[in-house]
């Protein structure tokens, strides 16, 4: 069995499972945020009222965490009252692990917190009320994004139903050129398999090249499996991951791996040396081309943010380019979490950014989903380190958004046009 099949077999109390079967599986961890969490509690409260239940116990309360990340700081009265509602519901139902923005050791984007705080373990079935929940597959968990009703059901009963997915193998060898990052690789993969290329399937990344990537870079790969419509992205946890989680949580997780004779529905191989800096052109993440084909396109704004594009490794990459240079176009940099922000301060990255003229924002999903804090206008051309550029995603339908690596985004900020970062390195 593959990693994903093994997890589903174990969670549904079976010796083995095969792709296509429907299983009812027990859930280990749950995440909700200030958009999905509000929806989840509305579902739960209306269910409670409909059934006339006075006090409803959520069996997964102690295995659930809440992150405020989408409309924070609140963009208006409605989003502010959503946060208050979420807080009151979490307290009513006894969910104690709650990451409040502006009040704590760490807060920020949910998927970033999952990694930084070690909230997910290898072998877990982890469901989150957000499509980029896939990111946590970097730890060897089956990390699956779901909607409000699904999450509400899992919170109440501790189980969910799933079709056992086929697994696609992505085999990686070699190492990147200095101007290339994991973002370029995942864009290339998306271009190859298309936005529906992993429908109902899991993408398992394997191969010696993973050893050369840190957790941030690996998480860039699992994060954007969502844009291929994958049920999840997953990797076998290696010593780096096991030691990292041991340090974060005080106990070393048990490793888990796909069987040597596991069946894969499809296989793709990449040599990392052959990957060029890539962009996804407007207006779909699979509409990709090498930077060389769009070089020189005039840019109005650069956005560095989100769960995929503002991790510490991403900020370091941006700083490498911006050091001693000034940005030519509006550039917004929003670290993905409070902890990353503080580390960036310690390392002098924030100094480099502010000296370059860029704007520093708080940890938030912000303009990545067109919510607030840097929403884009009609006719603007934007280079963004985020993961989606569907029409209107970041604001105006008439904006042109290019998705790129942090290096390419930074280089484009300096020149004011789409630029291969190799030229500035």
């Amino acid at each position: 069995m593959t990693l994903a099949e093994k997890i589903l077999a174990s969670k549904s109390g079976r010796r083995s499972v095969s792709p296509g079967e429907i299983v009812v599986a027990s859930v280990d961890r749950i995440m909700i945020h200030d958009v999905s969490g509000v929806g989840v509690f509305k579902v739960i409260e209306s269910y409670r009222a409909r059934k006339g239940i006075d006090s409803l116990k959520l069996v997964m309360a102690s295995k659930t965490w809440v992150a405020e990340d989408h409309f924070v700081p609140p963009s208006d009265r409605k989003s502010a009252s959503n946060i208050r509602f979420l807080e009151s519901m979490a307290s009513k139902y006894g969910i104690e692990r709650y990451y409040r923005y502006g009040a704590g050791e760490n807060y920020g984007i949910s998927h970033t917190l999952a990694l930084e705080e070690g909230l997910v373990r290898p072998g877990d079935l982890y469901i989150g009320g957000d499509s980029h929940t896939n990111t946590a597959g970097v730890f060897g968990a089956l990390a699956v994004g779901m909607g409000h009703t699904d999450v509400a059901y899992a919170l109440m009963h501790g189980v969910t139903w799933l079709r056992v997915p086929e697994t696609i193998k992505i085999h990686l060898e070699g190492s990147f050129k200095p101007s290339v990052m994991a973002k370029d690789l995942i864009l290339r993969i998306l271009g190859d398999i298309g936005s529906g290329g992993a429908d109902y399937r899991v993408m398992e990344f394997r191969g010696p090249a993973l050893k050369g990537m840190n957790i941030d870079e690996r998480a860039t790969l699992t994060n954007m499996t969502t844009e291929a419509s994958a049920k999840s992205g997953i990797m076998e946890p290696d010593d780096l991951v096991l030691s990292y989680l041991e340090e974060k949580t005080g106990s070393r997780p048990r490793p888990i791996a796909s069987d040597p004779d596991a069946w894969y529905v499809d296989e793709h191989q990449y040599r990392l040396e052959e990957i060029e800096p890539m962009v996804a052109k407007p207006s779909s993440p699979d509409n990709v081309s090498p930077v060389s084909e769009v070089e020189g396109v005039e840019v109005d704004r650069v956005y560095v943010g989100s769960c995929i594009g503002a991790k510490l490794t991403d900020l370091r990459a941006v700083a490498r380019i911006l050091k001693g240079r000034r940005v030519k176009v509006r550039t917004e940099i929003l670290p993905a979490s409070h902890r990353i922000y503080r580390q960036a301060l310690k390392e002098g990255l924030i100094d480099i950014f502010t000296e370059s003229g860029a704007l520093i924002g708080p940890p938030t999903c912000g303009a990545c989903f067109g919510g607030h804090m840097g929403v884009v206008a009609d006719g603007e051309t934007v280079v963004s380190t985020t993961n989606r550029n569907y029409p209107g995603r970041m604001g105006s339908k008439e904006a042109r958004v290019y998705l790129a690596s942090p290096l390419t985004a930074a280089a484009s900020a300096v020149t004011g046009r789409i630029t291969d970062p190799g030229e500035l390195m």
Binding site: I22, V23, V24, V35, S36, V38, G39, K42, V43, Y47, H70, F71, S75, D76, K78, S79, N82, G129, D130, S131, T133, G145, M146, G147, H148, T149, D150, A152, Y153, H157, V159, W161, S195, G196, D199, Y200, S229, K231, S284, F369, G370, G371, V375, R388, Y390, P391, G392, R393, K397
Partner: protein
Amino acid sequence: MRIRGYVHKYGDKIDTDVIIPGVYLKEHDPKQLAKHAMEGIDPDFVKRVREGDVIVAGRSFGVGSSREHAVYALRYAGIRAILAKSFSRIFYRNCINTGLIIPIEIGDDVYRSLETGDLVELYVEEGRLRVESKGLELKIGPPSRIVIEIIRRGGLLNIDPEELKRIASQ
């Protein structure tokens, strides 16, 4: 289950950002969300759509976010079934688990046979679609047993885990 309504036809990759743009995610009242359904791609949709209507679409319908808002917006605008060449998985689950929208996968031939404005009658369990306006009868689906059962019961919350296991194993 039997559905009768008019077809609204779209192409591939109708993503959740065009079904209900991100700025409305702070809204949780389905009736308010319905006012903005398909705003990102078809601003006139909400004026045309009537209760019980059907969306016909190409590949990867609902690709993108996990926002259940997308299902609420379409259902409260009037949509009761979506026939697409393929669905993005979270949107597909949300249709089923809320019990609000019947998602059915169709082939190229069925997609080509249908146009905006066609009046159709859908017999879900029988896997039959009658195109009244053209006098056609097409075979579609039917969806799997668990899908039909969850929708027929009005959504996942109305089924307890033991029963869910029973349905899943059948």
